[in-house]
Each structure stands twice: as C-alpha cells, then as structure tokens.
Amino acid sequence: MAGITKRQFTAGRAKSQRGTEESPLAKWTLISIAMIFCVVFLLLPLVNVFAQAFSKGWDVYWQALTHPDAWAAIKLTLLVAAVCVPLNVIFGLAAAWAIAKFEFRGKTLLITLIDLPFSVSPIVAGLMFIVLFGLQGFFGEWLRDHDLKIIFAVPGIILATVFITFPFVARELIPVMQATGTDQEQAALTLGANGWQTFWHVTLPSVKWGLVYGVILCNARAMGEYGAVRVVSGNIAGKTQTMPLRVESLND
C-alpha cells in the first residue's frame, strides 16, 4: 500500500523533481558499484555455503548430519538457544518498559551499559567467565568442593551465550516502545485495565515486529556463536560441542 502511494506520489512530482535526481548515468553507475559489492560480499558467500555443503552429494551431507556427535551438537545448540533467547526476551521487555515509559536520571548510562556486550570481544567475554568460575577463578574452589561444573560444561556455554546475545532484544524494543509513547497505556489504565492487561493487550501488540526481529537476531547469534563458546566449552565431542565448534573440528 505504502509503496504504491509513494510511487504515484513520486510519479506525479517527477517533473518538479528534476533538480533533485541524479542523471541516469550517475544513477546506474552507483547501482552497478553497489551491486558488484553485494555480489562479492553477500551473494557469492551465500551460494558458496550451499555449494560446499552439497559438493560431495546428498549422501555425504546426510551422513555428516546424522553422525551421533553431530546429533549431540545439534541438540546442545538448540538447548543453548532455548535457554538464552527467553531469558534475553524477558530482560529486553523489562528494560524497554523501564527505559521507554519512564523518565529517570542515568538513562543514557543504562542504555550504554546494555550495549556494552556488543563491543566486547567474544573471546574476552569467555575469559570473564573463566575468571569467575574456572579452577583458578573466584568461585573455582567452591564449585570444585561442591562438585559443580560451569566451565567446560553446559552452564558455561549458556552463560557465555547469554552475555553475547544480551543486547539484541532490548536494542530492538527500546526505540519501538519509545516511538509509541505512553498515551495508549494511560488510556487503557483509565478504562480500568490492570498493569498486566495493559501490557498484554496494548503494549505487546504495538511492539510485535520489533520483538520478532530482536528474537531472530538473538537466536541467530545464540546458535552461531563461536568465539565465546570455544573459550568456555572445552569442545568435547558429543558433550560440550555446539554446531559451530563441530564445524571447526571437522575442518581440521
């Protein structure tokens, strides 16, 4: 809809816009350069992934996929994502509600801190959890005495992944919630809805697409994370090997 009206609008003004459009030569030169860049950096890698995967035929692909260790890696990756994504969704919703609907001091600082994991190297992230829970770390001896394992075990992988994917949902939700303002929620409350009802029936539907996009990004990163998981997992085939780690071990 929007696309059509916009196009008609532009067509109607085409004559008057002559001064604000590039010559066809300039336009198509720009498009060509952009497309060459896209082909080299986006399309070829995409096609190459699939070409590589099936280069030795379906049977080899199927064998690699149904190997017991591969199966264990798939299950572990799904488990990690199944824990990380809901945690970060709950956090994202809570943080976005507090930041977008209320005014308080230090808001900019809080947003900056939420963004922090974006700019921390995954390797550094993994190392932090080793410093906390590794054998020589702060809680190392206590964990050993109580026979608990975090590093080189599944909890460590989950913690590292939660850190890496921490900002994704919040980052998508905050601007969307800020844009919708608080008027609708105020109206719902005036009409007698309680806080949860307002959230479920008014706020959540209005931020639906931002949430979906955040979940997709969060999930993609959670399933694909390699650096942080590599540092904390120990990479034991069949036990603490996620899909990206298995890709590496098969490549060697």
Partner: protein
C-alpha cells in the same frame, strides 16, 4: 525546565529492578571480575605482557585491518543505503533482505566460506591470485572477513535516516542553482555524517573483537596474520592466565573508549538535529 509529566503507568520498580539485577549478573560482575583479577598482576608485569613483540604485532593487525574494513563499510555501506532507499531497480528487495545475512551467518561458517572463495582454486581466488591478490591466509583475508561481518552496521544505521530525509531541502538547494553533486556534498552529506560515523564506530568495535570468521581465513601466523583475540586464546591454551587477562583488559579498555565515542557522537547528532 520541562514540566514533569504525570505518569500513572505501573511496573517501574519491577522492570527497573529486574533490569539492574540481570545487567549486574550477566555483564557487570563478569567484567568487574576480570578487571579485579587483572589488578592483581603487578604493573611492571602487566606492561611487559601487554607490550610483547607478538602482542604489538597482533594489535597492529587487529586495529589496522579493523579500521580499513570499517572504512570500506562506511563507503560502500553509504552507497548501498543510498541505492536501496532512493532507486527502484530489479532485485532491490532481495538485496535489501540480503544485507542482514552477515548477522545471521555463524561467524565460523563465514570464515570458512570466505577462505574457500578466495583460495587459489576458489571461485574468486582463481581470477585474483594470478594478479597477486591473495585473500586467504594473508592480512588482506582479515580485512575481507571483517568487511563481511561489519557490513550491515552502516547500511542499517543509515537507511532510516535517508528514508526520513526531507526532499524539500534538496529541492531548495536545486532551486538556488546547486548542481546535484554540490547538493550532495553541502546539503545531504553533512546531515548523514553522524549516522555514517555511528555505523563506522559500530563496525569498527565489532571488528576489533571478531574472532570466529578470521581464524579460518587468516592462517593465524604469529607476527603476520595473528589477531589479538586469537593471541588471547593461545595464551589460555598455554594456561598463561596473566598473559590472557592482560591482553583482554587492553581490548576491553578499547571497547569502553569506542562506546564513549559512539555516545558522544549520538548526543552531538541529537543536538544538531534540534
């Protein structure tokens, strides 16, 4: 002073409390732990570990390659965002959707694929290597991988700004006799600059920490194609925790600086917009 608006919405205490708790547990305590533990290393030892020849070579490659990659992203990302928002051409929607692909592809897979493309017998390598352009197992490979992973940042930061850009301003410029190029340089570019710089800084920060995609394409040769995060992993595997933590804190300090820079730019841009 703006008048304080009455706000009857519930849940501030609950959501704010949970936000701060979760932020502390997942982000602040681990970062604090790393810093506290590193403070236990004597300063002279810290300095020695942070400035070994091998570490210096790794910083140089990491920062240099990240800068070049972020610059390439700023230039091509701006071009791509412009083309995607301003022009109608076949395949536009597909390209628009494809821009997020580097975010979605696991970095390890990205590294393998790029190494495969640019290898001497790869799809691109077979044409490039005869001309001396070696993309795999060279510093150039690091730049290629970083350009790939950082690509969406500039495009996605710039697109909404370009979409909301007021055409009237350009018309005014044209009416006053400015050519298209002149209009772009003195009217459009200045208002896009804050977003381009933010996108550049995001891509740069991401590139500094990137690990997964690089280890497969660079070959990880010490002094030549070894990046700083890889050196941290090496130190860890040698059980040299002091060495690993020292390098990690250097990278972490850089992350803080980048975040501060991004914030200053955004605040400056907001002021500029008003």
């Amino acid at each position: 002073m703006a008048e304080k608006k009455f706000n009857a919405l519930p849940g501030f205490g609950l959501t704010m409390g949970f936000t701060l708790f979760y932020l502390s547990a997942i982000v602040m305590i681990p970062i604090g732990a790393l810093i506290v533990k590193t403070l236990g290393i004597p300063w002279s030892e810290f300095w020695r570990l942070a400035t070994t020849e091998r570490a210096l070579a790794a910083y140089k490659l990491t920062f240099g390659a990240s800068f070049i990659a972020a610059l390439a992203n700023a230039i091509f990302g701006t071009l791509l965002a412009w083309v995607l928002t301003r022009y109608e051409f076949p395949g536009r929607r597909i390209v628009d959707a494809l821009v997020d692909f580097p975010f979605a592809l696991p970095t390890a897979v990205a590294g393998l694929t790029l190494a495969n493309l640019f290898a001497a017998n790869g799809w691109l390598g077979q044409y490039l290597v005869p001309f001396g352009i070696k993309g795999a197992f060279t510093p150039l490979g690091v730049v290629i991988a970083l350009t790939f992973v950082g690509m969406p940042f500039v495009v996605r930061t710039l697109q909404p700004v370009l979409e909301n850009f007021e055409r009237e301003v350009e018309e005014a410029s044209a009416t006053l006799g400015a050519g298209r190029w002149r209009t772009f340089i003195s009217v459009i570019a200045p208002s896009l600059m804050p977003s381009i710089i933010t996108g550049f800084a995001l891509a740069f920060a991401r590139a500094i920490g990137e690990y997964g995609s690089i280890v497969f394409i660079s070959g990880n040769l010490p002094f030549k194609t070894e990046i700083a995060p890889y050196l941290i992993v090496m130190r860890l595997e040698e059980y040299d925790y002091a060495g690993a933590m020292t390098l990690a804190v250097v990278l972490l300090a850089f992350s803080f600086v980048m975040l501060a820079v991004i914030n200053v730019i955004e605040q400056w841009a907001n002021k500029f917009a008003k």
